[in-house]
């Protein structure tokens, strides 16, 4: 793979702070995750009522995508050729637990379809695709830890094979109040090189 690709922006959500390209855009300490993400949704003018039906993982992913795509001026009313490659450690465990709880008691047995549909990690990619009309390739990997190398190789391969114009890569992890989102957009033109060093540098920012 000889071509160079570039990271055009990155967004992090962790420790109750949302940052875009290293600068804070929203922060609210002393809140549990669900309260925090809802407050962030309101504060950042997200204006997408479907947000409220989503599970925690999808809320986290869609808010990070919103911040990043807004900065990139991605128009959600036209098709966008953006592949999505996400990963995490805990799959959909947070929602899995809720589903499990709803089926454990024979006497109070009311499984919720709205919870069950989120018991797969890749549904959060589905939600982003619906909002931004993304029809290109997508995948979700489960890793012990964030793997910059894997995402680097995958994104490079998609771009050099001409499969897509841009790749949204990331790590979206949620387990109760332990959460972390890190998304970055890889493009064909730009100034910051898409390299393992930069991916890790921005992950740690």
């Amino acid at each position: 793979m000889n071509s160079n690709y570039y990271i055009s922006s990155f967004c992090s959500i962790k420790n109750n702070t949302i940052s875009l390209n290293g600068s804070m855009v929203y922060s609210n300490e002393n809140m549990e995750f669900l309260e925090f993400i809802k407050a962030a949704y309101k504060s950042l003018d997200t204006n997408y009522p479907k947000f409220f039906k989503m599970d925690g993982l999808s809320k986290l992913a869609i808010l990070a995508a919103h911040v990043l795509f807004k900065n990139e001026n991605i128009n959600q009313d036209k098709d966008n050729d953006i592949a999505v490659v996400f990963s995490n450690k805990s799959s959909s465990i947070d929602t899995d637990r809720k589903h499990q709880k709803s089926i454990e008691n024979k006497d109070d047995y009311y499984p919720s379809p709205a919870i069950f549909v989120y018991t797969l990690p890749n549904i959060c990619i589905g939600e982003i695709s619906i909002k931004y009309k993304l029809f290109s390739e997508n995948s979700f990997f489960i890793f012990e830890n964030f793997s910059a190398q894997h995402l680097l190789d995958y994104a490079n391969s998609l771009l050099s094979a001409g499969k897509t114009e841009k790749v949204l890569c990331g790590w979206v992890e949620l387990d109760g109040n332990q959460y972390e989102a890190y998304l970055y957009l890889v493009t064909k033109i730009g100034t910051i090189l898409h390299s393992k060093e930069n991916i890790i540098k921005f992950y740690n920012t």
């Binding site: 499990q100 499984p111 379809p113 069950f116 797969l120 990619i125 619906i130 489960i142």
Partner: protein, 400 residues
Amino acid sequence: MSRGVAITGMGIISAIGNNVEENYESLLEGKTGISRVSKIKTIHRDDIMVGEISFTNQELEQQLGLSSDNNYSRAALLGSIAAKQAIVNAGISNINKYKTGLISSNSVGGMDMTEAHFYDYFQNDAIQKYINGHHSGDSSQKIAEQLGLEKSFVTTISTACSSSANAIILGARLIKSGQLDRVIVGGVDCLTKFTINGFKSLMILSDTFNSPFDEDRKGLNLGEASAFLVLESDKVLQAKNKPVLGYVKGYANTKDAYHQTASSDNGDGATLAMEKALKVAQLSSKDITYINAHGTATINNDLSEGRAILRVFGNDVPLFSSTKAYTGHTLAAAGAIEAVYSILALQNNIVFPNLNFKTQMKEFNITPQLELKEKELQTVMSNSFGFGGNCSTVIFSKKQ
């Protein structure tokens, strides 16, 4: 340039057989594996039918020679059995002689053990070992250990019903790019109350034998299975003179971008996946001789997929059938077991029937292949469409 990636080995365990030969015999005989669930205690026992594998966990442990302190979930057991069959079939004696990797997939990991033992963990130390077995990546790690690949590239894909198709796609790419010489690709899912109850809440489970593409279809039957294929590079093939079972010739993955679980009315994601796979294969729609459809027998999928097939193939729809009436919908394993069936179809020039069909769907006039049919096959297209709108198509060919 579209040189296919060689498939040199396959392994499978499903409701219709415990290895490739048994699965093939069942396919030929029209012998379904669907029945009432027997190994899981569920209140839905009389309302659903499933594709259950006959072995108990104990029997599977014995087959693998595991010690009694193992913490293998049923997923890890089934996956190990299928993966080991695949490498034997591929004639591999020294797995680390070439750069080899494993890409597995599943949707609920070791959930079967978790739901059986969760409430006893505090009282009973002896079963706490299963806590570590819950994780989605755990079965992949155990399969890697069984194969001797624990120090190699091992990863887990989790994209619902398209997972193992995506594993095949990633494996083919890793070989084409020269990053690996050999990849074992596939997936596994076992039956769990978690999935039974969840699908029941979506009201898409049938209470009888599933009938794909039938006007009166009532929904899907869940199934459990595992299958793995061995993909090898030209370099390995040149060094070792071994038979090639078929080639991964084309593939594509797209998003339907419509709903968390339902497919768009006209199968947009499915249409794109089939079209793009043809492009990668450098084939036209006329070159496809059989489609192994996703065909889950839900109202939504079969309509959506049928429309997508018409959009792609127009007046020239090839023979198509869904084999889910045999095995049930095996979730993450579906792409891989149907890849095995696609290769069997290619090798034997035979199209497997779409069982239980009675009435033509009123929305279109294409009918699946209803009887076993001998036909010269050059290419088979296999569809796997997952929740989250993750649509994958893989094209297999006889020649490179």
